[in-house]
């Protein structure tokens, strides 16, 4: 379907952790406004229509995660899905213990949950050591474990198969966080891995929508009064047009996933080379065993905020994990856990090609402009002589 004329093409977007909707998903969303607006729990005709559309979306997205529709629930955000998913695991095992084993580069929303006391350290590329993870699992009173399939900030893959096996050996349920990878690479969720799997429709061109799968047979339950919607996991059902747009985005992304992944990987390789060629720039994260579409580098003697502004002047939108760009003025916990430079940090999350057809040109422009942008920022800070 052609892009409707009222959606101007996206250019210069290199920060698509939450990007614009896939154009076909946007069209589906518009169409669903007319058909799927009703509360799907109502028994009247509009409600029944919405229910049927929601069931369709659930079937499609369950397929995306490799789970059954009755295992999958929709949540207002990926963060909400992660929080609910972990809370249900902990609560169900509260007689065993309350501790949660998690890697140090897990998403903040998970690290802030009760029970996560001493995260498992990561190496300089950001990967947890499976042996250290196993030691933590062997401790007393472990209720649950958490592992990301890959890190959203630096791209590094985690040893999912190994940690999943160790969790089973210890009888500890594992929450697998695939929010950065589902829809961006094949095999993002290994078949049968994890007791709970969480993903985000925004990662593949859908709207922000948390996807939570609790595998059948998992001991799982939330404290407090029973929730009515989404298999007892949410107080209210999702807004059906969002679920439909998410399902559409998945189908669109899945149809071109092989070429999309290959092309993104090649573009990120270009950025890694261009950044590494600039003096005193450190490209971080695993160079090979990583997400195809994410790359991060840190520029010594430069200010992340100023660098972002300098690149914005050149028409490029990137992100940063530097303290000065965060509302709390704290650096990214991921970069800090890896022991890499946190200042002068630039993070690129490529949009899907379908979302931003100019992305290869934008990447080339970043590669061309980077050296000069860095020199300009260092000159302005008076650090070009260091």
């Amino acid at each position: 379907m052609a892009r409707p004329p009222n959606d101007p093409p996206v250019t210069g977007l290199l920060d698509a952790a939450q990007g614009p909707l896939h154009p076909v998903a946007a069209a589906t969303l518009r169409a669903a406004l007319a058909t799927g607006w009703a509360d799907p729990t109502r028994l009247n005709p509009p409600g029944r229509t919405a229910r049927s559309l929601l069931d369709t979306a659930r079937g499609v997205l369950a397929g995306a995660l490799g789970v059954r529709p009755d295992e999958l629930s929709f949540h207002p955000s990926a963060q909400a899905a992660l929080e609910v998913g972990l809370t249900g695991l902990r609560h169900a095992r509260r007689r065993t213990g309350s501790r949660v084993v998690a890697g140090a580069t897990e998403r903040s929303v998970l690290l802030l949950q009760p029970g996560v006391e001493q995260p498992v350290p990561v190496d300089t590329v950001g990967r947890v050591d499976p042996a250290a993870y196993a030691v933590a699992l062997g401790g007393d009173g472990v209720a649950a474990a958490v592992l990301q399939t890959a890190n959203a900030e630096v791209g590094t893959h985690q040893p999912v198969a190994e940690v999943d096996r160790t969790c089973r050996e210890h009888g500890v349920p594992l929450l697998l966080d695939a929010t950065a990878s589902l829809g961006r690479e094949g095999g993002a969720v290994p078949s049968g891995a994890g007791s709970v799997v969480v993903a985000d429709a925004a990662s593949f061109g859908g709207p922000p929508l948390g996807l939570l799968a609790v595998r059948t047979g998992t001991r799982w339950g939330l404290p407090g009064p029973r929730r009515e919607a989404e298999h007892g996991r949410e107080p209210a059902p999702p807004w059906v047009p969002l679920a439909l747009a998410a399902a559409e985005a998945w189908q669109q992304a899945a149809a071109v996933s092989v070429t999309e992944e290959r092309s993104a990987r090649e573009l990120v390789d270009r950025i890694r080379s261009a950044a590494a060629a600039v003096p005193d720039v450190e490209v971080v994260g695993d160079p090979h065993d990583r997400l195809p579409h994410v790359v991060t580098f840190s520029v010594l003697y430069a200010d992340g905020e100023v660098l972002l502004e300098e690149l914005a002047l050149r028409g490029l939108a990137v992100a940063s994990g530097s303290a000065c760009t965060s509302s709390a003025l704290r650096p990214s916990h991921v970069l800090a856990a890896m022991g890499v430079l946190t200042h002068g940090n630039v993070r690129v999350t490529l949009p899907l090609h379908a979302v931003s057809p100019s992305r290869a040109d934008d990447v080339d422009r970043l590669c061309r402009e980077l050296s000069d942008a860095v020199a300009t920022v260092r000159r302005r800070l008076g650090t070009d002589d260091l």
Partner: protein, 102 residues
């Protein structure tokens, strides 16, 4: 990461002929690292330079800078700030050694 034993910063500053001390308390990233690099510029290897900083980012950035530049650093944590004792490595002729992680 080292423990909290060692000389308090006032010692380091007060000692005549002691190492140069950069007091970057109150400055935010990337200023502490920049001031430290400036103080270290041109000094021979083996020289000690001391940085006092209370910025959370310096806690990861000073060791990262030292690793990129071949210096060694010991952290001595005080209640409100951290003292970084840097022993300079061999000076490098060229800026660069970029992308040491790959």
């Amino acid at each position: 990461m080292s423990g909290t034993e060692g000389h308090p910063p006032s010692d380091a500053r007060g000692r005549s002929g002691g190492p140069p001390v950069v007091d970057a308390r109150g400055s935010r990233c990337p200023v502490p690292v920049i001031r430290l690099a400036r103080a270290a510029r041109g000094l021979p290897s083996g020289t000690t330079v001391v940085l006092l900083a209370d910025d959370a980012a310096a806690w990861s950035d000073v060791p990262a800078w030292a690793r990129m530049k071949g210096h060694t650093v010991v952290l001595l944590e005080d209640e409100d700030w951290t003292e970084y004792r840097v022993v300079l490595g061999e000076p490098r002729t060229e800026r660069g050694q970029a992308d040491s992680s790959t």
